[in-house]
Structure formats: structure tokens, C-alpha cells
Assembly symmetry: C2
Homo-oligomer: 336 residues x 2
DNA sequence: TTGTATGCGTTATCAC
DNA sequence: GTGATAACGCATACAA
């Protein structure tokens, strides 16, 4: 029982079981064409030696690895702030991959170096397919991988218009319902804290806000954040400066909304009496803010699951829809 | 530019450059023993063909993969709740690995199936080493991997006493300072919401609480949660039932403390006037609770970084300390 | 049903 | 400095 015992190979198992390597391979891979007594002997030898297949060798010949990459083109700080969106996607992907008995390889690609390493990794055929949790600007990577024949699915429509299959939610519809609700409850000076304008979620939600206000013939008041809580607070302060009499604000993410609530409290505004607030996402935090946050729910877990299912189908050689759009829903709590 | 173009191999590059495979390999791996003109020609051919080394083939011969696994023996729900502890560790690990130009493979092993898949993956030599973000009970996996000669480092002392090198923080010292602070400010009925008792963080923080109260000759009041926000709220309600007159509570994690604050507000208790609250972790949320949370800071990012450095040294064949313990610190805000 | 032989794409050990 | 050539550990077409 030495600590650095040689790893047993197929060969060793074959010798011990008194059969050929091929037979051992068949047993290990569950081929039905092996006589039961022999199979038993082989399994016995496998157990005795503690044999585990070398995955590198296997994937060298099978041309597949059984693992899939989920790429977060974000700084780690952003992925793991307490914004629950990325984590939710990770969970969805993880669940679906687990069901398929595939391995998840999570890659953070915030830095340029990280981006490059991801590319090497994926093109090096370390994975059978690649998921992008989000995309910034017109990142060329997904298109490049797809062109190399590597199955790729994106979370959110690629902002640059890259031709990559994606799964997204109905941002505009959700925002529209939120704004209508504010208007219906008598609000007239409706501002927004928008998300980053190089991400599709930021772009679409702002577009939705602008369209809804235009239709209602109301003036728009915009400040831009970057989906962090801190940026939400900063943007809220800007808005209050721009228009001290604003009576509602649609914030493009719950985390930013939390920051905004904080800023409003500091500024002495009551929510919802003075200012109504609606967020977007419906992460767990939304239930625990003070007061609990009215928000547009997006099915975060489902995004991850759906992306994964699409990718698995793609990797299996099936044809898939170029776009899947999931519904959003307005969840009424106490801030609007 | 066909979508499923054959991948170029070393052979192809060699042919195009008019040299041998060995030479191409040398150039690709940056060997200095290649004449510059030839090296240039090879690089040219590599670029032209878009050659990328097949990592499976490479690791088959080098016996190393350049990637390391970070295993979260938790349900995904827990890892990616908005508790920032696991994410913080992931970030630390990710940063340090990035600096070393190594790949991070994140594996969730909450379910039994997941646990088994992780074992196959690691013993299958898909990674050069393994990090456990936390350990439950006496999980046999880390010990098993270590015995197979796979470098392993644990985050937190293994509760079961497994002989695996680990990085942990000074739980007891931190809790002790928290309790002393409560006593010094006149609190006498000090309760605790403990963490899960199969995790070292839960065990040690409760032990620290009990020891500090015993020393001060005060009565202990204990409820147990599982590090989720909801469990913090539930436990807080229990405590209020047990002793309606309690005037302070040490909560073993900030997220549970958030739940506890919520429960206290609902119960009509003012914080800190009626009840003082101290958390543990100092995640970003602690700054944003209402009121901002006094808490014991642990250097979460550093835990991840330090674990990774230890693992890299281990994988490089160096000898490492069996235990590294990082300091904690009391951060005073408004709840105590 | 089982065994033999071959190849997957690299790196490493030699000669040259 | 460069080029053959032998592993690395496995899966599979083909033969028996």
C-alpha cells in the first residue's frame, strides 16, 4: 500500500484476469458481448488492482472527453459578487450536466490572459463543447470556436451579432410589464438604473424601458450601472440629483436595486411612498430587502438547464434552434 | 474554411515547414535548441494551419494535465446561495491558478453520484491535484486520493481527522473576541446560532462560543442552523422562544445573521438596543444589512489563495506544512 | 465470444 | 541542432 504505487493499466488487469486487453476494455465499457464468467473475473481483477481508466488515453482514441466548459467572460469578482445570476446559471448547467453524467469545467475568463487560456483549452479539445454564461461586446471567441467545429451555446443573445445559438429571456416584455405597473399605480417621473451597455441584458432592459416610456409619452431619466450593488447606489444618487422629484425607478438588476434602496434610505426617501422601486432578476435577496423588492423574475436556473440541453444535443450531432427565449414575469412585493 | 475542418496535427505542421515532428514539438514547447530560421518557419506553419496541440495526447506522455480540481462537497444550492464564502474561495483559487497559468476545474459533488464522478475524474488523472473547498463529517475521499499519490489540500481542518494538509482560520480566537466584546458592552444573556455540526466551521465556532461563555460563567443558549439565511431566521425565532429576554446573539455566519436580523425585526426587537448581533465571515452583505453588521472577518480570498499555493508546491514535489492557520478579526459596525 | 494488431497525437531518448 | 523511433494507455476493426 505504498503512497506512490504504480497505476495499474488495462494490461495489468488483463494479465491478472488471464484475458486480453481488449476483453478488459469491453468489460470496463460495459459491452454486452462478453461471457458472464469472464466478465466476473475481469471485474474481480479490476477491483483487486483498483484499476481506473486513464482518461487522457481514452479520449485520445475516442476523440471525446465527457466534459463541457462553462465560460464566464467576467472578472471573478463579478461572477461571485452576491449577485445570484451567474451562480444560478452555474447551478442549472451543473444539474443538467450531472443528469447526463458529464463533467463541468468552469472557466473564468475575465482577464485577457484568462481569455487566451480558455481558447487554448477549448481548441485543445479538452472539452466536448462550450457554454458562454454571458458575452461582452462582440467577443470573437464563440464564433471562432464554432467555426472550428466545437459545439457552442451562448447565454443571452450575443451583443455583437455573432452567429451562435443562444438561450435568452424576454427582457423587453418583462420591463414593459414593470413600467406599465408603475404607471398604473400613478407614477409619472419614472427613472431607470440601467445595466452595462456592452451586455445584452443591459442593452435590452434599457431599450425596454425607453420604449415603454416613449409609448406612455413620459420623459426618461437614465443612469448607468454595471450590475454591482455599489454601482446601483451611485447611480441612484445621480438620479436623485438629476430629478429630486422622481417618484419611481426601474433598476435593471436586483443587486443594483439593493444598492439603490440603500441610497434612497440615506437620502431620506421612503419606499414605496415617495419612490417606487422595481428590480430585475428575482434573486433570493429580493425577499429579504427592506422592504421586500418588487421585481421582474427571470428563470435563471432554467436558462442554465436549457443552454446545457441545447449544447448536449449539438454535441450529439443534432440540429438545434438558433434561439430559445424564456418568459419573464412581474413579481409584486412591497416596493412598488 | 469548412466548419468541420480536420484538426491539424504536429505531423501536418512538420510537413508544411519541411522539418520533423520532433522539431515542431520543440518549437511549440519553447525549447532553446532550435535554430532561429527553422523556428520561424515552424511558427509560420503553425499559424497558417491554426495548429493547437492536442492536450490529451500531450498529457498521456507527460503524465500531467496542467489543470487542478476544486471540489465543493456541497449541493449546488449551498455553494451558490448568496453566501459569499464558497464563491470567495473559488475566486482566491482562481486567481492563484491563473497566476500559475493552470486551469481550474470546478466540481460540485453534493449528490452521491456527483461524489462518485469526482472520484473517477480525479483518479482518472484528469487533474494534477485536488482542492476540497470544505469537508463534511469524515468524508473518505480526500484520504483516498492522497493515498493514491494525488496531491490534495483541504479548506478547513478535516472534521473526521483525515491526514490531509489543510488551510484554515482561527475560528475560536475570532469568536472569543466577539463574545468578549459583547460582555464588555454589558450583555449577559448571550445566545448563539451555530452552524452545521458536521463541518469544521460549524463545530469550531460553537466550541469557541461555549468556551467563552463558560469562562465568563454565563449560561449558553444554542440553536443550530445550516449556514443558510432561512435557517438563521428559524433559529433566531427558536432562541427568542427559549429566552425572550436574550440581549445578544452570536451568529456563526453573516448570511444566517441576515436571516436573524429579519426575524428580530419581525419579532419587534430593536438592534442593537434590545439585542446585539455579531456575525462571522464579513462578506459584502454585512455592509448593507440594516443596520450594518458587526462581524468576525475571515480572510476568505486568502484561504483560497493559500490552499492553491500549498497544492502547487505539493504537486511540484515539495514538502509542505500539514496545517496553515490564518487570523480572524472583529469588525465593529452597528449591530453590536 | 475472444484475441491480435493498429492508431490516436504527443513527448522523450537516442543517434546522427 | 535535428531526425528517427519508441513509448504513453486505451478502443476498435478485423481475424479467428
Amino acid at each position: 500500500m505504498s503512497a506512490t504505487r504504480e497505476r495499474p493499466t488495462l494490461e495489468a488487469v488483463a494479465r491478472l484476469a488471464g484475458v486480453s486487453r481488449a476483453t478488459v476494455s469491453r468489460v470496463v465499457n460495459g459491452s454486452p458481448t462478453v461471457a458472464e464468467p469472464i466478465a466476473r473475473a475481469v471485474r474481480q481483477a479490476v477491483a483487486e488492482l483498483g484499476y481506473v481508466p486513464n482518461l487522457a488515453a481514452r479520449s485520445l482514441v475516442t476523440q471525446r472527453t465527457g466534459s463541457f466548459a462553462l465560460i464566464m467572460p467576467e472578472a471573478a469578482t463579478r461572477v461571485f459578487s452576491d449577485d445570484q445570476v451567474f451562480p444560478g446559471i452555474i447551478r442549472g448547467v451543473s444539474q443538467e450536466l450531472e443528469d447526463a453524467d458529464k463533467q463541468l469545467v468552469l472557466m473564468l475568463a475575465g482577464s485577457a490572459a484568462g481569455h487566451e487560456r480558455v481558447e487554448r483549452y477549448a481548441t485543445g479539445r479538452h472539452v466536448d463543447g462550450v457554454l458562454f454564461a454571458s458575452l461582452h461586446g462582440d467577443d470573437p471567441l464563440p464564433g471562432r470556436l464554432a467555426r472550428l467545429g466545437i459545439p457552442v451555446v451562448s447565454g443571452g443573445r450575443p451583443p455583437g451579432g455573432a452567429q451562435v445559438p443562444y438561450v435568452d429571456v424576454d427582457h423587453v416584455g418583462g420591463v414593459d410589464r414593470a413600467i406599465r405597473h408603475l404607471i398604473a399605480s400613478g407614477r409619472r417621473r419614472i427613472a431607470t438604473v440601467a445595466g452595462p451597455q456592452d451586455m445584452i441584458a443591459g442593452i435590452e432592459r434599457l431599450a425596454g424601458y425607453l420604449a415603454a416610456l416613449r409609448e406612455a409619452d413620459l420623459r426618461s431619466i437614465v443612469a448607468v450601472g454595471d450590475f454591482t450593488r455599489e454601482s446601483g447606489a451611485v447611480a441612484m444618487r445621480e438620479l436623485l440629483t438629476d430629478d429630486p422629484k422622481l417618484d419611481a425607478v426601474f433598476v435593471a438588476s436586483d443587486l443594483m436595486a439593493h444598492g439603490a434602496l440603500h441610497a434612497l434610505r440615506v437620502a431620506g426617501r421612503r419606499v414605496p411612498e415617495d419612490v417606487a422601486v422595481i428590480g430585475f432578476d428575482d434573486i433570493e435577496l429580493a425577499t429579504y430587502t427592506d422592504p421586500p423588492l418588487t421585481t421582474v423574475r427571470q428563470p435563471i436556473l432554467q436558462i442554465g438547464r436549457r443552454m446545457t440541453r441545447q449544447l448536449l444535443r449539438l454535441a450529439a450531432g443534432e440540429q438545434i434552434e438558433p434561439a430559445v427565449v424564456l418568459p419573464t414575469e412581474l413579481v409584486l412585493r412591497d416596493t412598488a
